[in-house]
């Protein structure tokens, strides 16, 4: 692969990666959000794949396959299951009124237009913050570092402003995708043992959150986090 094609494809993957984060912010349907998240997982997996092909490292290609399986396959599958579980059978008759509500991010704390503008600000912030990182070792990959940081910031923003339990999980995973992308772009990924440990932790965290969502649904009758107001000073 020539240098120019590599750069072009890497940029395309990073662009898609960032775009997916923005679309998550834009959409309200949780099913659509999960789909976009899966696409983002593919864009993320493309980064180590390209790096591996470029640097002729088979291990990176294997890592890319693992990441695609986890982030574009398993995690979206788990979330889809949690989504189905959160609109259970006895509600099907009333889905038009309530069940469909359960599947939408109805009222984010910050409205969608404002959050899109905030995402724009966050991208600029990421760009500013990443200046010293790019300056340390300017290569095509490190030049795309702001993309990783921007997705981290957008993930945090989703986490802070969305009220549906599942939307918060997506926010957490965006955050994590951003960190993984940063790791690949900065240094072709952290050592394998750490990468494995982190992936395992993320998977477990999502499982825990999924179970908690189910329990929340049983205890509160909804997954709207606004109802979590009993503990406060």
């Amino acid at each position: 692969m020539s240098e120019a094609t590599f750069t072009q494809l890497l940029d395309l993957a990073c662009g898609g990666f960032l775009l997916a984060a923005v679309i998550v912010l834009w959409r309200r349907e949780l099913t659509a959000i999960i789909q976009v998240f899966a696409l983002q997982g593919l864009a993320l997996a493309a980064i180590p794949l390209l790096l591996g092909l470029h640097e002729h490292r088979a291990d990176l290609v294997a890592v890319a396959a693992g990441i695609a399986a986890l982030r574009a396959g398993l995690l979206p599958y788990l979330m889809r299951r949690a989504l189905i579980a959160s609109a259970p059978a006895e509600d099907r008759g009333r889905r038009h009124r309530e069940g469909s509500d359960e599947r939408r991010e109805t009222q984010p704390v910050v409205n969608v237009a404002a959050s899109l503008l905030t995402a724009a600000m966050l991208t600029l912030l990421a760009y500013a913050v990443a200046q010293p990182l790019v300056a340390l070792d300017p290569t095509p990959a490190t030049r795309a570092l702001p993309v990783g940081l921007a997705v981290v910031l957008i993930g945090f923003f989703v986490l802070a402003t969305r009220r549906r339990a599942l939307a918060q999980v997506v926010g957490f995973l965006l955050l994590d995708n951003g960190i993984t992308a940063t790791a690949f772009l900065a240094a072709s990924g952290v050592p394998l043992i750490v990468e494995l440990g982190v992936s395992f932790d993320v998977l477990l965290a999502v499982l825990v959150l999924q179970i908690l969502t189910t329990r929340m649904r049983t205890a509160f009758g909804t997954t709207d986090l606004d109802d979590l107001r009993e503990l406060a000073d």
């Binding site: 010293p132 955050l175 900065a186 043992i193 477990l204 509160f220 000073d233």
Partner: protein
Amino acid sequence: MTVEASALWLTAPVAVPLAVAAVYAIPRGRPLTPWAGLLSPAAIVAGAIALATVVRDAGPVRAYGQLLRADALTVWLLLAVGAVALLACAANPAYLAGEQAAGRAGSRTVRRYQALVHAFLAAMCAALLAANIGVMWVAIEATTIVTAFLVGHRRTRTSIEAAWKYVVICSAGIALALLGIVLLYYAARAAHVPEAQALDWTTLLAHADRLDPAVTRLAIALVILGFGAKAGLVPLHAWLPDAHSQAPAPVSALMSGVLLAVSFTALLRCKAIADQALGVGFTRALLIGIALLTLAVAVGLLLGQQDYKRMLAYSSMEHMSLIALGAAIGTELALAAALLHIAGHGLAKTVAFCSAGQVLQLHRSTRIDRVRGVLARTPALGAAFGLAVVALLGLPPFSLFASEVALARAGFAAGLGWPTGLALLLVLAAFAALAVRTGQLLLGPAPAGPTHPVPAATTAGGPAGGPPDAPMPDSPHESAAPDTDPADPGPARTARGAGLPLGLGLLACAVLGITTGPLADLLSDAAAIVSGS
């Protein structure tokens, strides 16, 4: 000691709790004796003591190549974890018996609870023993995942809420630390550290002066924020009072007593690298700011607190901010004081949470105004809680007195008079709040009931451990007068009951306050490791 033996002792604190957790997790016909849970703390303490001798004689030890490593700091923290775990695991049977008696827990719940507690211990030890800061991060995140179910153990609305907040805030918070670690790795790779060692703590420390300052600055800021979240420091502290007040008492004790400290140790290790690369100024300013803000938040919320478990949680934040202040001062004296504070706070907080848990099981309320007169109703339990709070207030002879005084001295000596003075003022306010609330909880006549021990208490105690009530002749004055002999707290006399761990904990905390004895060298070595001298 041979290489194999030290490898064995390095493995034991992780492997034994894991094995115990596995044994608990496997379904069986007859329930395992609740005292089997003491095996893992025993392994941790034994490992710590064995490692202490090795480390004293031969310096840091490693096992399995780059995987496990122990130095004086590790050993000190392992000792603290072991001691607190010993107390908490000894309190487990009484707690579980109480829950079973109240019909809130079946045998499956008990099994799962025990398995999770031991997995939690294993994860904490792994975080301490990891040589690679990436692996350390993985272990700390694992503690979050394991404890999530422990926090949400009771499946009430409030505990689910607490568990959700806990997982989301902590996971997101320490994800920032991971980002910081990734950036450190990037800086190390750019400084031509080989890939396999670029996250190894010793290697990073040795090459710290070659790291790019701008990248390191960003990395350490993220690490401090991230591990600070797990250590209960602002700005991501909101989970702490919820999780600590909703978790079962022994788990609260473990979380508050040592989990905060373990994650703070991770912060200390990264700080040591950053200080080599940047000089102490940057992390000092950041940590002082965070410590003072945390202290102010904790004090502000302590002042109006009406819930005694949340009160203890905010007190944990107060103490963590003092430890952070010690780390910010950064001299050897300050760090030794901070490490001593970690141990003392762990012990005292464990006693406080465990006795608060018993108060909760007896009175079914965490509101201070609904409980009142604990000392009159259950003198021994009241005394244990009272003495633990006295220890947390930082009064002699408990070790928190010694460490707070040392912290203040170190702060003024290092020319940080203003922040130290401000912190002392805030601690004074916390002192007042804590003392008044505890007084309301403990003192006063038993409302509208028998002044003598409540019979209901005996039934709630269950078979495994009789609650420390009736046979206690101690007078209520014991807790009001802090300078009575702490070596003779009432509950210590119940041989099998929940009283024993409480008494032992207070005793250990007091002894540590009077003399660190054979641990003095270990403590100063540990402080030297992170102060960079």
